[in-house]
Symmetry: C2
Subunit: 146 residues, 2 copies
Amino acid sequence: MKKERELYRDFLKSKNLKFTKPRLIIMETVFENHEHFNVDNLYELIKKKHKNVSRATIYRTVPLLVESGLIKQSLRCESKDIYEHTYGHENHLHFVCDNCGKIIESGFSDVAILIDLLAKNENFEIKEYNLGASGLCKDCQKKKDN
Amino acid sequence: MKKERELYRDFLKSKNLKFTKPRLIIMETVFENHEHFNVDNLYELIKKKHKNVSRATIYRTVPLLVESGLIKQSLRCESKDIYEHTYGHENHLHFVCDNCGKIIESGFSDVAILIDLLAKNENFEIKEYNLGASGLCKDCQKKKDN
DNA sequence: TAAGTAGTTGAGATTCATTCTCATTAAAGT
DNA sequence: ACTTTAATGAGAATGAATCTCAACTACTTA
Ligand SMILES: [Mn+2]
Ligand SMILES: [Mn+2]
Ligand SMILES: [Zn+2]
Ligand SMILES: [Zn+2]
């Protein structure tokens, strides 16, 4: 969290943006949490800490965290954008269960190598991977068998 | 288009849904078009043919086309869901340019094999792949170099 | 550390894709 | 044709995300 804070501060400075209290609260809350999250989750987590930040400010700050490279928008569930940490986290892909909504993470393994190759063929410069699949998790497969 | 129509009709029948004129117009328009599309595109294409179908009906019908396996929701651009044909089309992945919005398609190659392996490790049963990356297309890389 | 400057905040209004409601219409079977 | 049941169009409603603006605060400079 120390390092994230430095990066964030430097990022803000480089953009002539101010390191304000709400921005700090949001950033801290984001990194205290270790799950995928959406703006609403974040709002609730902040309230639970008896801090107060408006939804508007969260909506304004999350894109800054994304631009700084600390988090990324990784999924979309129930019509809401879902974010997750990127700083200090390996790339991974998501298996999302259509039935129960569970999100299973799995390492990239060699997938990235292949994708890089395909991208090179198209002269495309990849900034961010977006890999996953939907289907049925282990538990929900059983349920369907009944 | 003949085959799509059969499948669609059978699908509807299997669900005790009616094969109505609006549903036919929508399906035909979807398969006359060969680009990624959203509900608004579709609405305009239908109007251009001097047919008339309400947006509400399009919003109701697109999920039927998805459920029938003829199309899938494959991307989200400018806050809108983007669809594409699946019937008669190979799986492929999308490289989306952050700068100009261009969408480049590329064959799966062996990516699916690797992903299947990862899924098997998690006992996850894949119904649909969702693979891609964002970054800069060839042209936009040049622009940035200036 | 006071004053100046420029970016930031909260509250609520606004936008816009998508979904819903409901009275009317149309498909399919008999 | 008659009956049943689902579908349609129009417009209202929903809800995530964005915007507006007056009040506020972080940083700079003297
Ligand atoms: Mn994740
Ligand atoms: Mn495609
Ligand atoms: Zn599940
Ligand atoms: Zn481009």
